[in-house]
Subunit: 229 residues, 2 copies
């Protein structure tokens, strides 16, 4: 089977920068390529857009196929289309970024990925294609957006302690935050539900757990409220 067009067309792909967070680091999910070009090198998960598939749907499908990650926060980042970015032919890639809770996803490599694994953001190997550039833009976007939209919660479990939330902002923004000022500010926003639960399995005083109240946030947003850290 083949397809013929009057004019030549660039190929179209999607790539995904998947961020996760643990106690120590902001991490990114990479795959090791099984096929040429760049076989054996680490790269962002991604692949070709199928006909009659929206770019976002392509990104979600490729992410699940190659790494097992599904049902996550995902949005478009930027479209990379320098003619030289792929040695084979002109390939235009619609890059996306995703935020996941590390514990929720069993990572497994599949299709044309040899392996898949998490890398600390400061310890990423040289990537195939222009994926280093894409990763940098995604990281910049995350740093910027996390400050004025409540997307950080996507990196945490449903129920979390305030210390985890603070840790998130410290790791993503890469700076220390004063505990009292942080708690004062985030609680005063009124977008957290205080739960009647505390941490378990900690060897010290257990912290109270909270949940992000998305409905409340949406209501407040409509009335002009602006989230800001």
């Amino acid at each position: 089977m083949s397809y013929t067009y009057e004019y030549s067309r660039p190929a179209l792909t999607v790539d995904c920068v998947v961020f996760g967070l643990d106690q120590d680091d902001l991490k990114v999910l990479l795959i090791q390529r099984g096929l040429e070009p760049f076989a054996g090198q680490w790269a962002l998960p991604g692949g070709f857009v199928r006909i009659d598939e929206s770019p976002e749907a392509s990104a979600r499908r490729e992410l699940q196929e190659e790494t097992g990650v599904r049902d996550v926060f995902l949005e478009q980042l930027y479209t990379f289309g320098e003619p030289s970015r792929d040695p084979r032919e002109h390939v235009i890639s619609i890059a996306h970024y995703a935020l996941v809770n590390l514990d929720d996803h069993e990572i497994r490599a599949a299709t044309d990925a040899r392996q898949a694994g998490w890398f600390a953001i400061d310890d990423v190997p040289t990537l195939a294609f222009d994926h280093g550039t894409i990763l940098k833009m995604a990281h910049d976007r995350l740093c910027g957006k996390v400050r004025y939209q409540p997307i950080g919660f996507e990196l945490l479990p449903d129920k979390f302690a305030l210390r985890q939330l603070q840790n998130l902002y410290e790791k993503v923004l890469d700076r220390q935050i004063d505990k009292r000022n942080f708690r004062k500010k985030i609680l005063s926003m009124g977008i957290l539900q205080e739960l009647d639960e505390v941490e378990t399995d900690v060897s010290h005083r257990a912290a109270r757990l909270y949940r992000f109240d998305k409905g409340k946030y949406n209501d407040m947003f409509k009335n002009g409220f602006n989230f800001e850290i």
Copy 2:
């Protein structure tokens, strides 16, 4: 001549939302389509990406071909790729937005555009395809970005009075701004060059002219300065 591929490929286009500003309104540049589909309807300027052309280069080329606009601030907005967005086939469009000084550009329609013209942002007709959605996103982006990056200057002439700058922010953000506070704030940033020139051809006291000092801003930005209105 024709081109054959193993898998079917979506077509790839670029579209441009060009903003301009006059005394009264924020305006957007539209063309009237000469060809089907949507022949006769107003639409964003744009067209097909040629092979071995980056998306930004395509956008600049199409903009010049269809409207005569060239050498302007232009950056990528978002890539629209819902399979249903074009009645012919799956067409993925990389949307861009541009900011121009209205007086610098003689608009002339050409290639497959019957006419080209400026429309006040609040008075735009129904647009072809999903161009209404694209325009809305571009407008939202402009409103957001103008507040934390010094891109508004692209809408003004090289030399401008502070009142023009304030008018810009009032029109884009759609709210009144206090004159004294605005002047205090913008001058205290130290990114404007005070010129030894004043307005001409005004029937009242002439205002001093300023110029945006891009080099100074870049230096300050590197040192952690954040523009914000």
